[in-house]
């Protein structure tokens, strides 16, 4: 038997669908130029995709047809040579359509395999987010702002070809740089894209990750009923009514906290989170009322605390808030846990406000798709500069 190669691309649903397809398709078509057959497919269970909810593409390449057929006789690969993670916030874990519970980003990465992450952050900043893995593997960071666009208009910032260049370097047995170059010329006829791929090939480095490195937390899991355990009529219990909230400082009760779907938290969909200035809040209700995910808990004093287990980071709260800097969306990479901001503020307002100021001041720019015509053209030069220089 020959050799089978598998690559998974973990991406943000819809936002990075075209990007993931370009990478996966590029791997297979470039490898075919070396006489290796392959196939590229999106994971069925992730469809229909939703904006931000993590999804997967797979590229399978083999040295001969029979090996490919053998490899394809599975629903999806059990392990992959390379995991490509095109948004660094996915390093916190993945709760997809296809799965209940949180999966580590490196779950399928095989021993000695490589995890490639696109990020502006250095590896030491990403490492604490990535769950520990029993086997050693490698981590490679492709420097760049995670590329987000939408279903119809694609932001062509060369992330796709830069990933292909990096893969050629990290797994040369599957793919050589020459085939990647040839594929790019055939597909886009763009010498600058070829240069971006070559630069990334020349500069990408991978570092070893040992089993002791990373986030030691056990990812949350759910045991759902099997078909023979279901109730009559395929019925399930409703969500319970909510309850009042408890003030950690005074133990006064009031406000309202809704009960929530216990088996889907949605926070792994989040790439930014709202941070709230409780001192400037005028209690206008708009963030709470307009939140499509009902993520705001109403506190006993009538403030609104975004619950970080439920928030998916759409940013509507920031958009509707009439007070300047009262709700600010901040890059999810800046946070270590999902604890309540309101409780922290109630416990010590000075500490909280110092933290708040620092967090807002250091917020990284992220872009989540189309806001106006011409926006992508304004944004791509920065990324092309990174592609040239790093």
């Amino acid at each position: 038997m020959g050799r089978l190669f598998a690559v998974e691309i973990v991406y943000r649903g819809i936002f990075q669908k075209t990007l993931a397809k370009n990478i996966s398709r590029g791997i297979v078509l470039a490898a075919s130029l070396e006489g290796k057959p392959g196939t590229s497919f999106g994971r069925y269970g992730d469809s229909p995709e939703r904006n931000g909810i993590p999804a997967k593409y797979f590229a399978i390449v083999a040295t001969d047809d029979l090996t490919l057929e053998e490899g394809m006789a599975k629903y999806e690969p059990k392990e992959v040579d390379i995991t490509v993670c095109v948004d660094d916030t996915l390093c916190k874990g993945v709760e997809s359509w296809a799965w209940y519970g949180l999966q580590p980003i490196n779950r399928l990465t095989k021993a000695g395999g490589t995890l490639i992450v696109t990020s502006k952050e250095p590896p030491e900043k990403l490492m604490p987010m990535i769950h520990q893995k029993q086997d050693p593997y490698k981590l490679a960071v492709l420097k760049g702002i995670p590329s987000f666009s939408g279903l119809w208009v694609y932001k062509d910032d060369h992330t796709d070809v830069r990933i292909l260049g990096a893969i050629a370097k990290l797994l040369p047995d599957m793919l050589k740089l020459d085939s990647v170059k040839q594929f790019i010329l055939h597909e886009w006829n763009d010498a600058v894209k070829v240069q971006s791929a070559t630069n990334s090939y020349n500069r990408i480095t991978a570092q070893n990750v040992s089993p002791s490195q990373g986030n030691p937390e056990k990812p949350f899991q759910f045991e759902l009923l099997k078909w023979h355990e279901m109730r009559d009529g395929v019925s399930i219990p409703c969500i319970a009514p909510g309850h009042k909230m408890d003030d950690p400082a005074t133990h006064a009760t009031g406000g309202f906290q809704p009960a929530r779907n216990p088996t889907f938290k949605k926070w792994s969909t989040r790439t930014m989170r709202p941070v709230i200035d409780f001192d400037t809040c005028i209690k206008c209700t708009l963030c709470w009322l307009q939140c499509p995910d009902s993520c705001f808990d109403v506190t006993p004093e009538g403030l609104y605390d975004a619950n970080m287990e439920a928030c998916c980071g759409c940013g509507v709260c920031e958009a509707v808030c009439p007070v300047k800097d009262c709700v600010t969306m901040v890059n999810e990479v800046a946070f270590k846990d999902n604890s309540s901001q309101w409780e922290a503020w109630r416990k010590n307002k000075d500490t909280y406000n110092t933290w708040l100021k620092g967090t807002i001041a250091n917020k990284a720019d992220r872009s989540h798709g189309f806001r106006y015509k011409g926006q992508y053209e304004e944004q791509t030069p920065e990324m092309l500069e990174i592609a040239k220089s790093s």
Binding site: G13, I14, S47, P48, E49, R50, N51, G52, I53, W97, Y100, G150, L151, W152, V153, L224, L225, M230, I236, C238, I239, A240, P241, G242, G255, F256, P258, A259, R260, N261, P262, T263, F264, K265, K266, T269, C284, T285, L286, L289, Q290, C291, P292, D293, S294, V298, A310, G313, C314, G315, V316, E318, A319, M329, H368, G369, F370, R371, Y372, K373
Partner: protein, 344 residues
């Protein structure tokens, strides 16, 4: 309006309008943990719909995003009872559930009390496939239920196929703009609410809403449930997935749909038409309609539009406001006879 003595009308819940955003109850009956997109305005409609209706409510949902994403395998975000129904059958399900409650209460098998029945559908399930069933159900004055159409202007659940509600020129899976032909969808959007209001004399309430104006929308839903009989509410929901925009601007796009005059807000209560909110201000000349360009150029689905396309879109919206018999509601021209006198 005269009501036949043979019609048996049951009492409905007393649902006074919320007097302001601060009077809206804190309780949620559609809660977190649904797998909708970031910034999904249809999920917001579900939340506000049941918030307006209150705890004694049964919700029925035909296939679409709000079925698939909200109740994935053995999980739910509903606090009130919810049941799935088939893609084109929100009308039948709403009528059937209301009739079943009525029969159960008449036979003494259930405590007699007014229970809200709401059947929702998307634009595919409601404006296209389910239109016949909705029309039939709106002719039954004996049963109290509301049909809510959440319109994100495409079959969004299955990755954005074109529906009868898709606006002119929009990019969908079925209408990708090409090099030879730029505009692959050249039909104007179906006027569902106006058609249902005009065509169903037994229906006591039809309204159009947009949840960017949440309080107004919730009060329309309360009125629809309180007034009794079969009622219909049509909501326009910006969809970050299909309209291709940053979820951050979901709320703003809803406002723009109204302020540009593309989505007029109105209610037809006991056969009396009333324009609402910003739409009323536009009609009374107190607010100037914004150019449609401001709305179109914020969405990737219109990114292929040239100036000519924008001008055409604007001219059609102007027509809605200047030439329709009732601006934005009934697409019959007032000046037809003047322009082309009937042959003598």
């Amino acid at each position: 309006m005269a009501i036949s003595p043979f019609v048996e009308i049951d009492a409905t819940q007393k649902l006074d309008p919320f007097k302001g955003v601060k009077k809206i109850p804190l309780e949620e009956y559609f809660t977190s943990g649904h797998r909708t997109c970031q910034g999904c305005e249809s999920a917001l409609v579900m939340k506000m719909m049941v918030k307006a209706a209150g705890p004694r409510t049964i919700v029925l949902g035909s296939t679409g995003c709000m079925y698939v994403a909200n109740t994935t395998y053995y999980s739910t975000s509903w606090v009130v009872p919810w049941m799935h129904t088939q893609l084109g059958s929100s009308g039948s399900a709403g009528l059937g559930a209301a009739a079943a409650l009525k029969a159960q209460m008449r036979k003494g098998k259930m405590k007699k009390e007014p229970i809200n029945v709401i059947a929702f559908c998307g634009d595919g399930g409601g404006a296209d496939m389910g239109l016949g069933a909705i029309s039939a159900s709106l002719t039954h004055p004996d049963y109290n239920f509301l049909i809510l159409l959440y319109d994100n202007e495409s079959y969004a659940n299955t990755d954005i196929q074109l529906s009868g509600s898709t606006p002119y020129g929009a990019h969908t899976t079925f209408s990708p703009p090409g090099k030879m032909k730029r505009i692959m969808h050249h039909r104007w959007k179906k006027n569902t609410a106006g058609m249902l209001a005009a065509g169903h004399p037994e229906c006591k309430y039809v309204a159009t809403v947009c949840m960017s104006y949440g309080l107004l929308g919730m009060n329309c839903i309360r009125k629809a449930l309180e007034i009794g009989g079969p009622t219909f509410v049509h909501s326009l929901d910006p969809c970050p997935k299909g309209w291709d925009y940053d979820p951050y601007i979901s709320h703003e796009l809803g406002e723009l749909a109204v302020t540009t005059g593309i989505w007029p807000l109105y209610e037809v209560e006991n056969h009396t038409l009333r324009l609402l909110g910003k739409t009323k201000e536009i009609a009374e000349g107190r607010y100037v309609r914004q150019p449609v360009r401001d709305y179109l150029m914020k969405q990737g689905r219109f990114a292929h539009f040239t100036k000519d396309d924008i001008d055409y879109f604007q001219s059609k919206v102007d027509e809605m406001w200047q030439k329709w018999l009732i601006p934005g509601v009934i697409p019959m021209m007032k000046d037809v006879e003047g322009d082309k006198p009937p042959a003598e």
